[in-house]
Amino acid sequence: MTDKLHFSLVSPEKELFSGEVDSVTVPGSEGDFGVYPNHMPVMTTIRPGAISVMDGEAERRIYIMGGFADVTPEGLIILAEEAIELADLDVKQLAQDITDVNEDLRDADTEEKQEAASERLVYLQRLQSALNP
C-alpha cells in the first residue's frame, strides 16, 4: 500500500488534475471531510466550495461548483461541474466584477435579467468568501 493518495479532478470539459497527493479536504454536502490514503469507500455530493489539495508543504485550493466525490480504494475522484483554481483568481478583478453585477442587478428591468444577475452575484460572492476563509 502506498502512503500517497491518487487524486483526480475531472470536469465535463477536461481532466484538470490527476496525480499523487498527501490529502484532500472536500466540502461534502453534509460537512467537510478530509481524505487521506486508504480512506474507506465513500460516495458523496459536494456543495459549492473550495477543496484543498495538500502535497508535502504545498497547498492548492480549487473552487468547485458542486459535483460528486467518489472515494475508492484506488483513490479519490471528484466529478466537478466547474472548477476554478483559486490561485489564478485576481482579487481586485473579482471585487470589480461584484460591483458590476451589483449595478446590473439595480439596472435590471426584466425579471429574467434580475434573476441572472442575482445568480451571478451569489456565485461571485461564494468565490470571494472562498478566497478569504
Binding site: V10, P12, E13, E30, M40, V42, T45, D70, T72, P73
Partner: protein, 295 residues
C-alpha cells in the same frame, strides 16, 4: 466541339472550385484537431460518471422504489428516439449514416407495434427523417448558433428530455449519434439513455472494494437524484462532441476527395484543351500551305 474559350472557362471554374474545397478541407482539419482534443478531454469524466452510476445502480436495482430514471417505468410502449446529426452538409455520408441508423431503429420499433417520438438535434437529420416520419417528430434543436459545444447546451437538451420523461411522454429514450473512432471511420451508434441501467452494459468495470462497504452521504436515493440527470447531460455532451469530431473528420475526407477529383478534372480538361489548340494550329497551317500551293 466546344471552342477554345469554352474550355478555358471550364478549366477556370474547376480551378476555383478546387480552391474552395481545398480551403474547406484545411478548415475541417483545423477544427478536427480541436474537436478531437475536446472529445478526449471529456472522456475521463464520462467514463468515471458511468462507473459511479454502475456502482450505485448495483445497490439500487433490487429496491422497488428505485428512481424511474434508473430502472425505467416498467413499460416499453413509447420510445423517444433522439437523433443527433450535424447542422451542415458537405461532409460525405456522415449525416446519411446517422439518419439511416435512426430510420432502421424507428421502423423496427414501429413494426413491433411501439409508439415512437422523435427529437432531432441538428437540422440535417430532420431533413432526412421528415420525409418518412413527419408526424412522429416532436421537435428539432439546431446547434447552428453555437460555435462551440459546451456542457450548457447538453444540459438544456437533457432538461428538455427530463421534462418529457416526467410528464410521462415516453418510457424508453435512445440516443442515435455517430461514435468517433478515427478520422476515417465513424460508426453510427444507438445508446439507451433512459432507463440508465440499459446503457451501462458496456461499462462493466467495477472497482474492487477489498470487501469494504461503500458509504453514501447523503443516502443513495438523494445522490441518484442529482447524479442521474447529470449523467444524462454527460452522455449527451459526450455524444455531441463525438458528433462534431466525426463531422469534421468526415468533412475533411470528403473535401480531400473533392480536391483530388477537381485536380483530375483539370488535368483531363487541359489535355483536351491542348489537343484542340494543336489541331486548330494544324488546320490553319494546312490551309496556308494549300493556299500557297494553289497560287
Amino acid at each position: 466541339m466546344a471552342s477554345l474559350k469554352e474550355f478555358r472557362n471550364r478549366i477556370d471554374s474547376v480551378k476555383s472550385t478546387q480552391k474552395i474545397t481545398k480551403a474547406m478541407q484545411m478548415v475541417a482539419a483545423a477544427k478536427l484537431r480541436r474537436a478531437q482534443e475536446s472529445v478526449e478531454n471529456a472522456r475521463p469524466y464520462a467514463a468515471r460518471m458511468s462507473a459511479v452510476v454502475a456502482n450505485l445502480s448495483n445497490s439500487m436495482t433490487e429496491q422497488l422504489d428505485a428512481p424511474k430514471l434508473l430502472v425505467g417505468t416498467g413499460k416499453t410502449e413509447i420510445h423517444l428516439v433522439v437523433v443527433a446529426s450535424a447542422d451542415r452538409g458537405l461532409c460525405g455520408g456522415f449525416n446519411s449514416a446517422i439518419a439511416r441508423r435512426g430510420r432502421e431503429m424507428i421502423s423496427g420499433l414501429l413494426r413491433d407495434g411501439k409508439q415512437v417520438k422523435i427529437l432531432c438535434i441538428g437540422v440535417k437529420a430532420h431533413e432526412q427523417l421528415r420525409r418518412f416520419y413527419d408526424k412522429q417528430i416532436i421537435d428539432v434543436i439546431s446547434l447552428r448558433e453555437h460555435k462551440h459545444i459546451d456542457s450548457t447546451i447538453a444540459a438544456s437538451i437533457a432538461a428538455r428530455i427530463l421534462q418529457l420523461f416526467e410528464a410521462g411522454e415516453f418510457d424508453v429514450c435512445t440516443l442515435v449519434f455517430s461514435k468517433f473512432i478515427n478520422v476515417m471511420s465513424q460508426t453510427p451508434t444507438a445508446k439507451v439513455l433512459i432507463p440508465a441501467t440499459e446503457g451501462l452494459s458496456d461499462h462493466p468495470e467495477q472497482p474492487d472494494l477489498n470487501g469494504a462497504c461503500y458509504t453514501y452521504e447523503p443516502d443513495e436515493e438523494e445522490i441518484l437524484q442529482v447524479l442521474l440527470p447529470r449523467n444524462l447531460t454527460t452522455q449527451i455532451f459526450q455524444a455531441l462532441l463525438e458528433n462534431v469530431a466525426g463531422e469534421m473528420g468526415s468533412k475533411m475526407t470528403a473535401m480531400d476527395n473533392a480536391t483530388r477529383n477537381a485536380g483530375e478534372m483539370i488535368d483531363k480538361l487541359t489535355l483536351q484543351y491542348n489537343r484542340k489548340r494543336q489541331s486548330m494550329i494544324t488546320t490553319e497551317l494546312i490551309e496556308i500551305i494549300a493556299g500557297a500551293e494553289a497560287i
